[in-house]
Point group: none
Chain length 206, copies 2
């Protein structure tokens, strides 16, 4: 294993694994050599190999199954975001930050989704809102989750989900019931420019 001076072993292992994946043209789901095999091949201790593997696992690049082995994971970008979020979304983050960031994302998601919503999608949104069996907070969750999904921005969705989940613990400041309906009407009437206004008015009326 080629190693720069002062470089930690697990960094080298990281690089070797990358090369292995590349040169063997591995795809998601494929199996990596066992920890023991890797450590023997690379001439390093198993603990160093494990440090590298654990890091890759946390990054969502690999997946380990006890008793089976280590596998290249099906592409899950932004797994990292979760870990980072758990450190950022600590107590130091103010409620105001959380709420306003969440609303900001919801507003923008409503705008981003505008061009990607088909009649069918709007119908789904309507169903979510009209369903009598779900609580209003659940409706809200479902509604924006669907919108976020339609934005096709995975990162934005992830961030919203994390904030939504975290803020659920202390409060659920929702929009007035009519806002969802209003938004749907704007979609139907193709009035993009009014979306921003809808959300801004809602926020200030609180």
């Amino acid at each position: 294993m080629t190693m720069l001076p002062n470089q930690k072993v697990y960094h080298g292992v990281l690089e070797e694994i990358r090369i292995f994946i590349e040169s063997n043209n591995l795809n998601p789901g494929d199996k990596l050599p066992s920890e023991r095999e890797l450590s023997e091949t690379l001439g390093t201790g198993r603990s160093s190999v494990r440090e590298a593997l654990r890091a890759l696992e946390l990054l969502g690049i690999i997946e380990t199954r006890h008793g089976e082995g280590t596998f290249l994971s099906t592409y899950r970008p932004f797994q990292t975001v979760e870990i980072l979020a758990s450190f950022i979304l600590s107590e130091k983050t103010t409620k105001e930050s959380l709420i306003s960031t969440k609303k900001l994302i919801e507003k923008e998601a409503a705008k981003l989704a505008y061009n990607k919503l088909e009649d069918r999608d709007i119908a789904v949104l309507n169903e979510i809102i009209c369903d009598l069996d779900t609580s209003s907070s659940q409706k809200d969750m479902d509604f924006f989750n669907y919108l976020l999904m339609k934005t096709e921005n995975v990162l934005l969705m992830k961030i919203w989900q994390l904030i939504a989940e975290f803020s659920q613990t202390f409060e659920k400041p929702r929009y007035d019931a009519h806002v969802y309906q209003d938004l749907i009407h704007l979609y139907l009437k193709k009035e993009y420019s009014a979306i921003e206004e809808l959300f801004v008015n809602q926020a200030s009326s609180k």
Copy 2:
């Protein structure tokens, strides 16, 4: 250490460290307990502690100095980026998510800051842009960092900082030079409603 069944030890350690940081109100630069101390306190092996620490290091949450100790670092996911980049960041959708989320936050920050900018702040922004000694990418970073700071939304700022650093490694899609000046003019002329337009046009002209 409270542990869910089937949960790996290093996940528990991760959580414990997070709690430690939070409850001791640690700030970037502060020292964490030594590996040996952690393993003793948590009743786990040192190797498990190391697996957690290595992962956190790769995420840029902590920093280790040989012979000195482990320190809380300002979130600088440089390492992460390199690893992610070399493994998966080739995926187009990932990049697009990053870029569009970043731009979205910048646009909204420009709007949120509007009411909080005093003449002095606008002067500072102007200086940042006009400074001949800094590169254009550095200007961009400083400019929006200042704006984000003025929004007084710490969470949004942190999210932006993370994304900004992530994006820095693979590409630097900047705004045209005049956009910064234009924004400053809008601030001076108190034309809030034109801010959105400025960013949207910029984005589509790309």
